[in-house]
């Protein structure tokens, strides 16, 4: 009986998580367009609903009812597989992400995470690396030169940026003496990691921008030079899958930045509920992502490579050495 309850709880949590993550891109697109508008002194969407609030719903209906077009020369199997490959890993990663310690519902303690893995960080980086396959397959299968160029760029970009990103968090692991995200947050109860790991955070955040393929590192879609990059040939719901995946990864990088460097659900000064603290911090990072998008131009391809290998990688290694010497 206890097993059934525990299993049911896990299923319930996973269902809740999936529903939450699938629905969250809707308000996020609205927020992004509003931020874009106001930064450019426009109003953004205004016509559908109050201040355009229903615009994402209208967009969703439009994407659902559009023709699901597959180019004649495309590799049909890979073309259909790619959006799912791009969508699934960001969702899987959230299994290992804790959103708080626990809440008591009807006298039962319910933990705010699906699983507390002892190698959560490793799991996160392993699974998030799989997302790139969706992009590469999508670009390859479309049989279009823009899409192939986009996925080639993604491929190179991911190789260059996952290494510094992985190295950047080693400092955090050294401080917490654990790879469990829960333990990492508990270790930051007094002082957030950003105080000890400013370089680590910088490398992690820049690499995270590249990982999420947001401006200034969105070379994979680079609408100026590649049409729409790897999803040039996608339309309708498959395109929506790529978009949802992009937003979930953006959310994931924000969540990771908060958990690893900004104390997770530990608050400062103002006593707010831990979950609210967590949401506020994540919201700030999501805003930062969007703010960056409408401020910076895109880096050139060779600059991207140079930043990845010549700046971020040595910086992350130096960070490990400094952390090792200072905290040994």
């Amino acid at each position: 009986m206890e097993l059934v309850v525990a299993l049911g709880l896990i299923v319930f949590k996973v269902a809740l998580l999936i529903a939450f993550l699938l629905l969250l891109p809707l308000p996020l697109t609205w927020v992004e367009r509003k931020i874009a508008g106001h930064i450019q002194q426009r109003l953004g969407p205004m016509r559908v609903g109050w201040h355009g609030l229903l615009q994402p719903v209208a967009d969703g209906i439009k994407l659902l009812t559009k023709e699901d077009h597959i180019p004649a020369e495309a590799d049909h199997f890979l073309f259909k597989l790619a959006p799912i490959l791009a969508l699934a890993p960001p969702f899987v990663v959230f299994v290992a992400i804790p959103f708080g310690e626990s809440v008591s519902v009807l006298g039962n303690e319910i933990t705010l995470y699906v699983s507390n893995m002892n190698v959560a960080l490793l799991f996160v980086f392993a699974v998030i690396g799989l997302e790139v396959y969706g992009v590469i397959f999508g670009g390859w299968a479309a049989n279009s030169k823009y899409a192939v160029l986009g996925s080639l760029r993604t491929c190179a970009q991911m190789i260059s940026y996952e290494i510094p990103m992985g190295f950047a968090v080693i400092g955090v692991v050294m401080l917490a003496q654990s790879m469990s995200l829960l333990d990492i947050v508990r270790a930051q109860a007094d002082v957030w990691n950003i105080v000890y790991q400013p370089i680590g955070f910088f490398v992690f955040f820049v690499a995270g921008l590249a990982e999420a393929q947001r401006i200034p590192f969105d070379l994979a879609e680079a609408e100026g030079d590649l049409g729409a990059g790897f999803h040039t040939e996608y339309s309708g719901i498959r395109f929506a899958f790529f978009m949802v995946s992009e937003y979930v990864i953006m959310l994931l990088v924000s969540v990771l930045a908060v958990i690893l460097f900004f104390g997770g659900w530990n608050g400062v000064l103002v006593p707010l509920p831990p979950l609210l603290w967590f949401a506020l911090k994540v919201a700030f990072f999501v805003y930062l992502f969007m703010w960056f998008r409408f401020t910076f131009p895109r880096y050139r391809y060779d600059q991207l490579m140079a930043i990845g290998w010549k700046v971020l990688l040595p910086l992350s290694m130096a960070n490990i050495i400094i952390t090792g010497i200072a905290f040994s």
């Binding site: 106001h38 930064i39 109003l43 401020t295 910076f296």
Partner: protein, 188 residues
């Protein structure tokens, strides 16, 4: 080349991404500045200056009679032959237009008809919303031209509007000196 001549301070700035921070500060400021969007046609619309050459209209004299004397000078001078005038003699013995049609689909809004008119009967107003689903609807007859709104004394401003653009609303604006396009733009 200028990079080599930079001072140490600039190098320190580069190290701490001063230029990126400046850019972020600028866009953050813009984000909370007023937007310059005119919500046309939902809420407001642009009323052009009175020199604007929009939809034609025919004028009446003090007695309410049509001013046009059907001399057909406007039809003569029209570079695209879009005005068609048929004169007749009314009960007072004056020469008046029986038919006065302007094909606004062909009109290029040069305003030469206005210049040529000896009776100051035709002019180009400020109305610019006359798109139509059929080109036949764009041939405007005499009575419709008489009913079109005349020139507003002032122009160059934003007036209240609604989605129904078919209604001829003419609202006087208080903007006597024209619309300052830079009013809402932050200058730094």
């Amino acid at each position: 080349m200028s990079r080599t001549q930079n001072s140490i301070g600039t190098w320190i700035g580069w190290t701490f991404f001063a230029d990126l921070a400046n850019g972020l500060a600028l866009t953050f400021g813009y984000m909370f500045s007023r937007s310059v969007t005119m919500q046309y046609p939902d809420k407001e619309k642009w009323l052009p200056y009175s020199r604007y050459r929009g939809h034609h209209f025919l004028k009446r004299d003090e007695e309410g009679e049509i001013k046009c004397v059907a001399c057909e000078l406007c039809a003569r001078i029209c570079p695209c032959y879009c005005i068609e005038v048929v004169p007749y003699e009314d009960e007072k013995g004056n020469r008046r237009p029986l038919k006065f049609e302007i094909d606004t689909a062909r009109c290029l809004f040069c305003g030469l008809c206005e210049d040529a008119c000896p009776a100051d009967a035709i002019a180009l107003g400020q109305q610019y919303e006359f798109s139509s689903f059929s080109s036949r609807d764009l041939v405007i007859g005499r009575d419709d031209l008489l009913a079109k709104p005349g020139k507003a004394a002032m122009g160059g401003g934003v007036v209240a509007a609604r989605l129904d653009t078919k209604k001829d609303v003419l609202v006087e604006t208080s903007e006597t000196r024209g619309y300052n396009w830079w009013r809402n733009i932050r200058r730094t």
